[in-house]
């Protein structure tokens, strides 16, 4: 592929290959978002028509204000803001609620940025153990709360649980945990980085006080982009506005929101999210088809002897962790290219996205692939297995 500018190459892997990279699948842009990037790539492009009260979510042209209102409705919450990635959503909530020495309950499969958000305010993250199926349950959550209460004499200040985790793509018992959170009167943040934008999400129905989503993981948007949404009860706290007055110049800063550091996601990233939004609203209605496709793939993949699926079955998400230690890794042991043989063989079949050299436990994501592409993918793994005389039943 030709160089774009000096040593920056054109990235055409989405046009040339089936890409099953686990975190890239649902962040691939819609054509509408690609057009938005072309037209709104200049720095402060969203600010052409910024008028009083000079805040991003109040801009009427392009209809950024309307987008915020529709986004809140779409996730079943009262207010939403766009942020530079889910991590900034965690940070906004944690900064608003947690103080030095406070405990925050997280999953044993929590994303590292949840820990960092807690660490930044000198809070203490406490992990809920997984059950035997690698799922966080309401029962384990209640036990952890009791343990923290016994150890510290105080209840945790916040519970953060991933709807679907990044490691296995397993679904966790959000509604059960929400009930526990309510019983203890602890605010509850649901990390929907892998669900908001690919499947229907209704935050209030889930029992969430806060919903956080990722634009670049699941909303067909460029990185960084994300969403934080909350209900009326918490909106004034998380989206509180500045009161500061500078000492020398006596300046005030209008209605800028402190946790958002004023305006958040300006320019092409926001307009791309807005441009993808109609397609997002449509695609979440077809999540069941995505689940059929990953389960078809899994069935075919398991026809290769000794292949295993480490994620829960049947699959409820397209992000899936597999184990090929007893199949493809055995080939790698004696192959002159070692583990690279596997990515070489896949690439020959126009498939990329597996960590190069990985042949034991690895993750993949089939989100957005057509049925033809899913069948091509399944066939490719079986063809490689047959080539190296692995049994395919």
């Amino acid at each position: 592929m030709k160089q774009m500018i000096e040593d920056i190459e054109v990235r055409a892997r989405e046009e040339l290959f089936i890409n099953i990279q686990p975190i890239q699948a649902a962040g691939r842009l819609t054509p509408e978002a690609m057009k938005a990037v072309i037209a709104y790539g200049d720095g402060y492009s969203t600010c052409d028509w910024c008028r009083k009260p000079f805040r991003l979510d109040k801009i009427q042209r392009p209809p950024i204000s309307e987008f915020h209102i529709e986004l809140a409705k779409f996730v079943g919450m009262d207010q939403a803001r766009v942020v530079p990635g889910a991590r900034r959503g965690f940070q906004a909530v944690v900064n608003s609620i947690v103080e030095k020495g406070d405990s925050v309950i997280v999953s044993s499969l929590a994303h590292y940025t949840e820990f960092l958000a807690v660490e930044a305010v000198r809070g203490i993250a406490k992990e809920i153990p997984l059950n035997e199926d690698n799922v966080i349950t309401a029962e384990n959550t209640a036990q952890k709360i009791e343990k923290v209460k016994k150890e510290t004499g105080k209840l945790p200040k916040l519970i953060i649980i991933d709807h679907f985790d990044y490691m296995f793509g397993n679904e966790h018992d959000i509604r059960g945990i929400a009930k526990v959170a309510k019983d203890y009167d602890i605010p509850f943040l649901v990390n929907c980085a892998y669900s908001l934008g690919v499947m229907p999400i209704d935050g209030k129905e889930m029992g969430a006080d806060f919903i956080v989503g990722s634009g670049h993981k699941s909303f067909a948007s460029p990185a960084p982009s994300g969403i934080v949404a909350t209900n009326h009860e918490w909106a004034d706290k998380v989206f509180r506005t500045t009161q500061i007055v500078s000492d020398v110049t006596k300046r005030k800063f209008g209605i800028k929101e402190i946790q958002m550091l004023g305006c958040t996601l300006m320019g092409a990233n926001l307009i791309a999210m807005m441009a993808s939004f109609p397609a997002i609203k449509e695609r979440v209605k077809h999540w069941d088809e995505e689940i059929k496709k990953i389960n078809y793939f899994v069935d075919e993949f398991l026809k290769i002897e000794a292949n295993k699926i480490l994620s829960e079955l049947p699959r409820k998400h397209t992000l899936t962790k597999v184990d090929t230690t007893e199949s493809f890794d055995k080939i790698a042991q004696t192959h002159k290219r070692r583990g690279f043989f596997f990515s070489d063989e896949l690439k020959k079949r126009r498939i990329v996205g597996i960590f190069t050299g990985a042949t034991r436990a690895w993750k993949m994501n089939t989100y957005g692939l057509t049925w033809d592409q899913i069948k091509h993918l399944a066939q490719a793994f079986q063809d490689i297995a047959k080539k190296y005389e692995l049994k395919v039943v």
Partner: protein, 60 residues
């Protein structure tokens, strides 16, 4: 008018973006169905028209 040339520049880029999407939808075999073939023809025609306008406005 320069506005027309600029407008057609974006129109051509957007049409080519739709072509990118067809590559994405049909990779890695690129077996186009009738609807996709028709869409490709329309995109090529649209880009040609846009280039004609740009040429007329800027060069001729």
């Amino acid at each position: 008018m320069i506005e027309k040339a600029v407008e057609e520049t974006f129109a051509a880029l957007f049409a080519l973006t739709d072509l990118r999407q067809i590559f994405r939808d049909t990779k890695p075999t690129y077996q186009f169905n009738n609807e996709q073939r028709e869409k490709i023809k329309q995109i090529i025609e649209k880009v040609r028209q846009s280039l004609d306008v740009i040429e007329k406005e800027l060069i001729k």
